[in-house]
Subunit: 407 residues, 2 copies
């Protein structure tokens, strides 16, 4: 029998009406003869409300207890979805992450899935039930403590479960139609992609395309589970993320990210170990560093620039200043007004010239490039934040994505 | 080391401020050198809100899923209380009913505690932690499904845990000061009792005194765990419920209950098996029958009256009418305007005359007695509902409880 894992995000289950819509969709799939596992997030703003409650009670909520608190959110959704499905006469059972066998590391708030022991999910499917699983949560088998997976955790739960259950594919229901050639709020002529490869999706997601988080795409890639990103508000096809795609265009899409800030440590003595002494304390403080650029050394000194999430820039700056002092660097400067634009396409592997075309287009618009980083299928440029809309639009048009608009 | 189990009800944890108050109280007890297990209910109206959400999603919520939903309520409280305690520098760990080893029957919504395997609670205490346990919930070890214990379930959790952990006593924190000689909202001169025996408390609770539910008193009695019922809003002593009390007055207190209705099946053929054929289907339908009175048979016929909770009267009536038809009885009548007043005291065992004094007092006030039932330490009368305030006040005064007022 076919088996599909469906994931419904917070906006898809925001109130009773939408929960009944989700139930109807699950029941339709089930009645078409497919086994269904539905992974659900917390309703609408409920996770934020629980966080607010925690902030009212405690200045510095204990991580284990914060996870215990937050996991109440999906628990509510999963029970409501299960009872709505049962009302259609279809047997449904809800399971917490722990009950579904989602085993994780013990890092509260940012746990990683280590293994899935989906016996209770399989038992439910074998009995002909729809199984509803709480996303975003699991259990650390060592301490038996409940954990949460952090941002994108529900998508990761769904794709990992699809893999563990050898599902045919995984459907991610969301409030957008799929993956676009650029963010349609920025570029109205952006078009929906019918398909995109795992590698491209990984790069797009890492570069700021918010529709999927990199960790779930990585699960899909590793275990070759096709992911169908689609709207929970209508039945049309969305975007298939999968291993092989029919076409391999040079440029598949453009992503941008204005949630980062840039930090520069200048006049750093160019001696071995300096970079390590800078980035180790940042990693220990849980700060995710994105792009790192080190200039060519001059007179035994170099400048090191890197980007971090805006929310972490103050902590990062404090850390960097301590290190700058210790290694006798010239100082630290921070720029919060930056943005990153990235061009992604599998075809870049084999066809050169995209980088120079990208730089030329930005230059023609008078946009200065502050940092550059590349992968075999991506080029990213950090530019001034106030130019990002112009940059994305110009690149979308100039790299030939705008011409195929169906919108 | 001393060990105390404390239970905080919904009003005691209704918002962030009150949760911090609860944390402070727990920390005070801990710092005085006692081990503490705190059993908590869902915050304020949160259980009602979850029930409303369920009603919006489903006309007839699936019992297993309703329990899964409702258990989110205590989960939120226990995590918040634990983080508030941790802020005082005292280690605290929250455990769900399942994690705390509260094993129950599988009857969703009205599960009974079967056994407590409190290993994780003990481990936490051994590590010097305060352990917070979700009240009202457990797990059916057969199905591994989460269950709820129904009304009074959090008190029952606390007393049962106190027994399993051999705690010195159990403190029930509530929004009243303790157990009174009568409901102080009805009788302003009612006084707080310093102590009351388990037997008396069982009778008072069964007769409508809402401060404790019979099941938790029964746990206390069976395992001889003294229960201290006290206010969560100030530090004064409340009422100790325990095995031996210093005094054994003839009348300890008066309870009343206006939440029941009376049903009479009249002209029932007085043959063996008729009562069984009436009450078996009611029990099967989960209807709790309280008082039952059967008149002396006349001409081979009798009348059977009984009381049931008002909320169940329609179902009970429908059932009774089916049976009345089947056994060829005269018919069924219902009276929703009744109330029950009960006089309770251990001394009644040895001193007679309380019943006749009670009937005289009611008669002097022109109050007609519709039904009477007695136990060795209790007399209950069903009267017209509109006379209940007058009856409770008159009995409180006439049986000598009013004279000792300290209020």
């Amino acid at each position: 029998m076919a088996l599909v894992v469906q994931k419904y995000g917070g906006t898809s289950v925001a109130d009773a009406d939408r929960i009944r819509d989700v139930a109807r969709r699950v029941v339709d799939t089930y009645k078409n003869g497919s086994g269904v596992v539905a992974v659900v997030s917390a309703m609408g703003r409920s996770t934020d409300e629980l966080l607010e409650l925690a902030a009212e009670v405690s200045e510095n909520p204990h991580p284990r207890e914060l996870d215990m608190l937050l996991t109440a959110g999906e628990r509510v959704t999963m029970a409501l979805v299960a009872m709505a499905i049962a009302d259609f006469g279809v047997p449904a059972t809800s399971l917490t992450g722990s009950q579904a066998g989602i085993l994780t590391t013990g890092r509260h708030g940012q746990a990683e899935i280590v293994e899935i022991r989906a016996d209770r999910v399989r038992d439910g499917l074998d009995r002909g039930e729809v199984v509803i699983v709480a996303g975003f949560q699991g259990v650390d088998p060592g301490s038996k403590d409940v954990t949460t997976l952090g941002r994108g955790g529900s998508d990761a739960t769904a794709v990992a479960l699809a893999s563990a259950l050898s599902a045919d594919h995984c459907e991610i229901y969301t409030d957008v139609d799929g993956v676009y050639t650029a963010d349609p709020r920025v570029v109205p002529s952006a078009t929906k992609l019918d398909e995109v490869s795992f590698e491209e999706m990984l790069e797009l997601a890492s570069a700021g395309a918010g529709v999927l988080m990199p960790r779930s795409v990585e699960f899909g890639r590793r275990f070759n589970i096709p992911i169908h990103v689609r709207s929970s508000f209508h039945d049309g096809d969305g975007t298939w993320v999968k291993e092989e795609t029919m076409e391999q265009p040079v440029v598949r899409g453009i992503a941008h990210d204005d949630s980062e800030a840039k930090l520069t440590v200048y006049r750093v003595p160019d001696t071995p170990g300096v970079a390590a002494s800078l980035f180790e304390p940042l990693a220990d403080a849980g700060i995710t560093v994105d792009m790192i650029v080190q200039n060519v050394s001059q007179d035994g000194f170099t400048d090191i620039s890197f980007t971090v999430p805006l929310a972490m820039i103050d902590v990062a700056q404090a850390q960097a200043e301590v290190v700058a002092e210790a290694v006798d660097a010239g100082g630290v400067s921070v720029d919060r007004e930056i943005a990153k634009v990235s061009v992604v396409g599998l075809g870049m592997k084999t066809e050169s010239g995209t980088a120079s075309r990208m730089f030329r287009i930005l230059s023609d618009h008078g946009i200065n490039i502050q940092m550059i980083s590349t992968s075999p299928i991506r080029i990213s440029c950090v530019i001034s934040g106030d130019k990002i809309v112009e940059a994305v639009s110009a690149l979308h048009e100039g790299l030939g994505l705008g011409g195929e608009s169906t919108g």
